[in-house]
Structures are given as C-alpha cells and as structure tokens.
Amino acid sequence: MRIVVTVKYVPDATGDRHFADDLTVDRDDVDGLLSELDEYAVEQALQISENSDDDVEITVLTVGPEDAKDALRKALSMGADKAIHVEDDDLNGTDALGTSLVLAKAVEKAGYDLVISGMASTDGTMGVVPALLAERLGVPQVTLLSEVWVEDGTVTGRRDGDAASEQLEASLPAVMSVTDQSGEARYPSFKGIMAAKKKPVESWDLSDLDIEADQVGLEGAWTKVDSAAERPARTAGTIVKDEGEGGKQLAAFLAERKFV
C-alpha cells in the first residue's frame, strides 16, 4: 500500500509572527517547524504501516519554501520512507485552492492508495485542504477522524462531533484527515534521525507537475487578504463574586459563550 502524508512547514506558533508587505506570512524572523497537527497524520501512517501485514510505503509530501525540508526531515526521522518537496518561486502566496491543485498533481504523480492529512495547519487553520484535495483527485474523503483502521482496501474511522460520533468508511483510494485526538505523535528516535539523512527526498517544481504559474501564487489565488491587524492585547477576565448567585452567574457566563 502506498500512503502519501501531506505536511506543512509552518512558523512556530510560539514565535513572534508578522505579515510581509504583500500580506503573506513573513517567514524571515520566525523559526519554522513541521505543523504539530500534521505530526498526527504522520503518526497514523506509521501505525497503519506497523499494523499491516502488507508492505506499506509512506511518502511525505510538502509544498513550501527551501526551509520546508526541515519538516520533511522530521517526518522522515519519525519513520516515513521517502519525501517529496514541491518548491517553486511562483508558489509564494498560494491559497488553499491553489495548494490543493499542487498537492493533487503531486499525489497523482507519486502514486497513492491513501492520502493522510492533519485536521488543519497550525498557521492558516482553515482545515479545507483535505476535502479540496479529495475533490480534485475524485476519490472519497473521510475527514476529521479521531480513530482509524485500514483493512482489506477500506478505511474506517470515527468522527466525533459535538452531539454525536459518526462511523465513516470509504474504499481506497481515499483521502482522510486525522485530529489531534487520534493518538500522540512519537518523537523521532536517535536511530530515526540518523537513518533519515539516507532516505530519498525528491524536489519537484511547477513544470514537473504541468501547472502554469498563473494557476497558483498570489496572482492565481481565489482568496485575497485585504488587511491584517495584530490581535488586540488580552483584556482582564470577568470575576464572579459569589453572593448567593455565583453558580447562576457562572452558568450564564458559560452559556453566553456557548460552552454549555
């Protein structure tokens, strides 16, 4: 079975993030890393491989700048078999729709039975790419799974919602995404780190994928960022003083914010 895991190299969420003049993320002043939510996808791929009697080959795929190789390297250190890096200057500013096009072309070129994605990136947090990718590939999508099994050409999983849990099933080939409840991602072992540098990393550009420059990048984007502003500083919280009505006030507060 061939599994392709899509991963994203994101700015460290604990770092001081800024936008560049063209309102894309300024990556110069902040460290990047493999999106934590994608680590869950890599973990599930590794578990599927470990629990399978058949040979499973795990390819990690990223679309991103030169430094995105760090994200691939971490995934390879965790245990993936090989990596594909799609890198092209014309990709700067690509939106979710454009990204799904590049991923779809790359996944098709690589060959796949199952694509696994994280539930969202930790920077854009849109969470739409897995669904877009499945549409482009014309295969079933089973998204936001918290538990996953792959058996006899079928992927089965549980999606937990606010009111109910759904059991989903799709025949392969398919696209699935997994949540941060799917199981803690492993740390790269020292052996894995040493082995990673011997694993193949392919580099593709847009011409390798028969994509024209105007289909992607800021020019080709379907969405446009008009403005960006810093989040306002946190304000003081509400203090509820219990004078007999504390419980009611607490409940009202929670209800108002839709926690209960």
Binding site: R73, S77, R186, Y187, P188, S189, F190, K191, I193, M194, K197
Partner: protein, 388 residues
Amino acid sequence: MSTLDILSDDEQFMVRTVQDFVDKEVKPVVQELEHSNSYPEALIEQMKRLGIYGLAVPEEYGGTPVSTPCYVLITEELARGWMSLAGAMGGHTVVAKLLLHFGTEEQKRRWLPRMATGEIRATMALTEPGGGSDLQAIRTVARKDTDGYVVNGVKTWITNSRRSQLIALLCKTDPAASPAHQGISILLVGHGPGLTVSRDLPKLGYKGVESCELSFDDFRAPAEALLGGVEGKGFAQMMKGLETGRLQVAARALGVGRAALEDALAYAQERESFGKPIWKHQSIGNYLADMATSLTAARQLTLYAAREAEAGRRVDMEAGMAKLFASETAMQIALNAVRVHGGYGYSTEFDVERYFRDAPLMIVGEGTNEIQRNVIASQLVKRGGLEA
C-alpha cells in the same frame, strides 16, 4: 551563535528532540512524581525509545553513538527537566564505555546490544560504607576458586540497584597486592543468590530513582565476568570510565542550573513590586546577570572538557574542573533562584526548591569536589601547570 552550533546537524536535531521531550512530557509531571518519590516508569520507557541508552554504544552493537559534547548537551536537557532522569542514564553510559574500551569481544556482544535499547540497564558499584572516594581502600573481595569468583562485601549509593540487570562491581581480586590498585578488578555481575539489596538510602533530593546498599555474601560470579579477562586492571579501567562519569555529572549540574535560571528569569518578569517587574530592581537584575554569566562559563568549561575527551586526550583534570565548577555554580544559581522567588522559592509548589535539593548531589557525588581539587592540583604539578 547557539551553543548547539558546535554539533553536527543530526546531533543538533537530537538535542532539540530531547528538549522538546522535556518541555512536553517531563515538565508537566515532574513535580508530582518528585514529591511522591515515584519511579518515572513512563518517562524511562520513552527515553528508551528515543535511544538515550544507546548513546555510547557503537552502531555495530545496535546503538547510536554521539560525540561527547552532544552527550553532555543531551544530559543537560534531561537534567533541566528532572535531574533524576539524567541520573537514570549516567551510570549506564559509563558501564557501556567500560565495556567498549576494555571488554572482551564476547562481553561486548553479550551486553552491548541489549544495553543499547535499554532492555538491559547497567549501574556501577564503587562506593562502600567505609569510604567513598578512596577507591584503593575498598574492602569488597572476589576470591578466585575453580568455578570463578566468590564475592563478599558491601557497596552503597548504588543507583537503580533493583532495576539494573548489569552491575559493574569494583572489587579486590588480590587484597594483598602492593600497590593496592594492582589488586583491583571489575566484575560484570547480575542479581542472584548471595546478592541482596539490603537498604534504600533516604535522600535530600534525587528522588524517584533508588539509591541502595548492596550486600554480597558468598555471591558467585563466573570467571568470564572479569572485565577484559585480566585481573588487576580494574582501577585504571574505572578511572577512565569516571572521566565520562564526571562529565555526565557536570552536565547534570548545567541542567539544574539552567532550569533554575529559566524559572527565575520568567518569574522576575511576571512578578511585580513597587509598580514594576522585579527584574528592574537592580538587586534582582544583578542576580539574573550573575546567574547567566556563571552558567555560561560552566557550560563552556564543560564543553571544553568534552571536546578534549572527544579528541581522545586524558581529561581527568579537565572533567574534574568541569564537575567542580558546574556543580558549585548550579548550587549558587539554585540558591539565588530561591532568593528571586522570595517566599515562593521556599514553597514546594514551585520547582526552585527542588533545584535547591538536587544541586548538592553533584557537589558530593562522583568524587566529592574536595577530591576533584586534589586531582586537579596533582595533575597541575604533574603536567607542569596549564598548557598555554
């Protein structure tokens, strides 16, 4: 420049991985484990999977060997989370080094592959109730007979006693030898009849990991248990092993010092008095400046000794200096971190009181600092002073 720049890309990645592990897995649970003196089973299992126990084992025996500076920085990271975790791998590494440098091929094949995974964990047994640092005066005797050795004696302060399947036991195979060190050997033994864990030592800090007394009473070890297969080499072998041990203890001190500095630095920015964060009061700012300066000096001294060891040079003096300076520095930083925290520094709800209890171990352990000074002084005389 980052301290990690001296390492290869792969080794930097390893240190960062341990840093990540410490922040996410160790820091959130350490206070509870420490206060209840619980063995950190889950954390040790994760350390096995990371490859912590194979850091001194060559690839051909299944390990992932790293440079000495990398080993120091990984140890520092573990100790930054909890000094006891670094203690749970220190002796193991020294025994791996002993096997690597002095073991017969058969001994290496027997022990190293399972040590690399942590399936077998190793500890050293040197200290005796009658004396610690004066190793030539040990009284544990291994008498040779037709079937091997019969061991009698008592060892103390043995880390991980029950959880180690391999004990590198320093003993006298020829109690009458003169000079005494020529009668000393190392036996590689495991638990069995005649060996009892006779006591658990109560401790100020270094919780979660047991330190015990071992009693050998007509304990039998086969002839093949003799490290290297030749008697009388044990003292020199152990002196070499302890060079690694001292670097490891220096690294533990760096970790405790760094944790104390990090906590103090964060607290001094959060806590306000007289209308400003307390770090802006010069008395507090000066503490932070001195803590960071001495920690940086201790770290560079330790990394210097580590680089010398990596180059294959004798480093008893350098490792001794690192251990002496780093441990005294950690103690000072831990005390100052308590001061910066004020009353909260004395509270067991904060971590700084633990640093204050853990730091002294590195002063008295692995050869007291008084012994380190003796070693440094005698090496200075022997080598004609410091090299230019």
